[in-house]
């Protein structure tokens, strides 16, 4: 049995997912969609039980009515497990994973800035990557956001122009 | 009167020093470039830099102490030029001399460093201030070894006058060989005084921008730069006079040639030093000075003490 199938099997058996939820895209690439309630449990198991010790990044997606978050976890043998979970766009609340991956903080800040996710339990800190003074409620990676929405709002006071 | 005015202003005074300083800066930069396998600046570069800076707008930062800010470059320049007059160059005679002028020269050479410190401190910019404190820290580290290294030959010669020292060594050239450790120590200390790699810690631009001179621009910066150039020449001349007292009795023309060669050699050595070494950290520099350089200088002092007892009963 290949590695990917082992991963698939373990997840299927342990959490009783349907086969459609798990997709083995190719060698070493497994995609899994998890309901938000179950997410933390699966995530913890993947990290502690299945040895996915490296968080590559977190991708945020705007799917229209929901925001999807994909956590890309990697293992030393090269396998990458992409855990996807969705939250409603109206109340995009996530729980932080920075207790497991302190390095993941920066990716969560990115989600907060670019997609407007509210990450609970994320320690205070500088925002990333948007500049200070960026208007609240403007999240560039949302599909309904247009650059024109910045006009006149940011930057607030223009320095006197030489040009 | 007219003659001494000529001496002061033209030769071997300010104008000569100015030209000579710029020339030596060129030698240093060109050598540095060539050692790094590139072409380097054209010969007039230091002069062009000077003129350009002198003609540029000078900005005095609002927070800075403007009097000190303006005064310091002039101070630095004046002190190094003065020091020069006490050093015998191409004969055993310097322009001015008295017993104890050696001490005065060393003190005069400390003043520029102090002005760098004050200049940095009074710019009240963060980086200048860090640069200023580093300048002072470093001063404490290399100044004592330098003192000891330069006093040792004087001890051997039994005089505190530079001119008399050169007379002594002219008569007993072999004695100069005893001072070799002192020569090395003072070369290292001079490198520190000039704040160049590996001791360019106060100006380390990757850490603290321009260090002490971060806020300086235009005329004042030009003055500082020329002061440093002249300091290099004066320091090299001092080392030449104290440690390499050769060819002084050959008359003015030959003496002058010898003098040029000696100063060039010192400058070239310093350039080589900064090519092959990396910058130290401030505390490494201090440790290096106290653990290695100072004991070496002390050792030299002891040798000369014993020698002077043995050779000049």
């Amino acid at each position: 049995m290949t590695n990917e199938e082992k991963i698939k099997k373990e997840l299927l058996e342990r959490f009783g997912f349907s086969t459609e939820q798990i997709r083995v895209a190719r060698e070493r690439r497994v995609f899994l969609e998890v309901p938000h309630e179950q997410f933390r449990r699966v995530f913890e198991h993947a990290v502690n039980g299945m040895d996915f010790q490296h968080l590559c990044t977190i991708t945020g997606l705007d799917d229209g009515d929901t925001l999807a978050f994909v956590y890309h976890l990697a293992r030393l043998d090269g396998a990458v497990l992409s855990l996807k979970t969705r939250v409603p766009k109206a109340s995009p609340v996530l729980r932080t994973i920075s207790d497991l991956f302190p390095g993941g903080m920066i990716y969560e800040r990115e989600l907060a800035d670019l997609l407007g996710a509210r990450v609970e339990g994320l320690p205070e800190g500088n925002r990333y990557p948007l500049p200070e003074g960026w208007p609240d409620g403007q999240h560039p990676l949302r599909k309904d956001w247009k650059a024109e929405m910045l006009d006149g709002v940011y930057p607030k006071e223009e320095v006197k122009s030489h040009g | 009167m007219a003659w001494s005015l000529f001496n002061l202003l033209i030769f071997p005074g300010f104008l000569f020093l100015f030209v000579f300083g710029l020339a030596m800066e060129f030698v240093d930069r060109k050598l540095y470039a060539r050692l790094q396998n590139r072409i380097g600046p054209p010969w007039f570069q230091p002069f062009a830099d000077f003129v350009k800076l002198a003609a540029k707008e000078d900005i005095i930062p609002e927070e800075a102490d403007s009097v000190m800010f303006r005064l310091m470059p002039a101070f630095a320049l004046a002190s190094v030029v003065t020091a020069f007059f006490y050093i015998p160059l191409w004969s055993t005679q310097s322009l001015f001399s008295f017993n104890g002028d050696l001490i005065v020269v060393i003190y005069l050479l400390t003043i520029p460093t102090l002005t760098f410190f004050l200049a940095g401190w009074h710019s009240t910019s963060l980086f200048s201030m860090i640069g200023a404190t580093r300048t002072l820290t470093q001063l404490f580290a290399y100044e004592v070894p330098l003192f000891m290294a330069i006093l040792a030959p004087a001890l051997l010669a039994g005089t505190w006058s530079l001119s008399e020292m050169t007379v002594f060594y002219d008569q007993h050239p072999a004695y100069a060989a005893f001072n070799i450790i002192g020569l090395i120590v003072s070369l290292i200390a001079l490198q520190g005084k000039l704040e160049r790699v590996p001791f360019d810690i106060p100006e380390a631009e990757t850490e603290i921008v321009g260090g002490t001179f971060t806020e300086y621009s235009g005329r004042f910066l030009a003055m500082f730069r020329i002061a440093i150039d002249i300091e290099a020449v004066v320091g090299a001349s001092l080392i030449a006079a104290v440690f390499l007292p050769f060819g002084l009795g050959l008359g003015a023309a030959w003496g002058f040639v010898f003098y040029l060669v000696k100063v060039l050699a010192v400058i070239a050595l310093l350039a080589l030093l900064r090519t092959v070494l990396a910058r130290l950290r401030i505390e490494q520099m201090v440790i290096f000075c106290w653990r290695i350089v100072a004991p070496a200088a002390l050792f030299q002092l002891l040798i000369n003490l014993i020698l002077s007892g043995v050779l000049r009963p």
Partner: protein, 186 residues
């Protein structure tokens, strides 16, 4: 005092100290600027030194599109530089915003914030192109046309520049009998 003015202009042309500022570039232009300082291109030949503080600099070399966040800084650095000062936009991004034009956090080229004296397109601008741009800027400062090639000691066939019909830039400062060797190698 005409000679003094001439001397000062000469000095300015011979000693342009630069400061480099990245306004949001992709680094390629920046490394090409650094490459121009290293032995292969060695712009110290023209008296160019890289300085860390705007107070010491004459030329502000900008690379990259101006992001919204960096714009204030750019203006501030420009203001910190003493007169006379020049701005060189290195790379397509710095000229117009280039490939990033239209990105939401990008304001456009350098001239969206401060006046620019020379534009050097290229993505990234090669070190040669950077030298070319700087030389063009400096020659323009002379006001007059470059010195006539007639007083060069070289003959047609010997002059690497004149032979191609271009004006001699005379940046080496040597007059009469110059040659590629003399132009810097000796």
């Amino acid at each position: 005092m005409k000679w003094l003015q001439k001397l000062i202009t000469w000095a300015r042309i011979k000693s342009p100290w630069i400061i480099h500022f990245n306004t949001g570039a992709c680094n390629a232009c920046d490394i090409e600027i650094v490459a121009a300082l290293t032995p292969r291109y060695d712009i110290e030949r023209f008296g160019i030194l890289l300085k860390g503080t705007p107070r010491h600099a004459d030329v502000l070399m900008c690379s990259g599109p101006v992001t919204r966040q960096i714009r204030d800084r750019l203006v501030r650095i420009y203001e910190q530089m003493p007169e006379p000062k020049f701005v060189v936009a290195v790379g397509t991004c710095a000229c117009s915003g280039g490939v990033f034009k239209g990105c939401y956090n990008v304001k456009g080229g350098i001239d969206a914030a401060i006046p620019v004296s020379a534009y050097i397109p290229g993505c990234p601008a090669r070190p040669e192109a950077i030298i070319d741009g700087v030389v063009k800027l400096l020659t323009s400062l002379q006001g007059a046309k470059p010195a006539p090639i007639a007083d060069c000691g070289l003959q047609n066939a010997d002059c690497p520049v004149g032979g191609q019909g271009a004006a001699c830039p005379d940046l080496s400062g040597r007059r009469g009998g110059c040659s590629p060797q003399k132009a810097g190698l000796e």
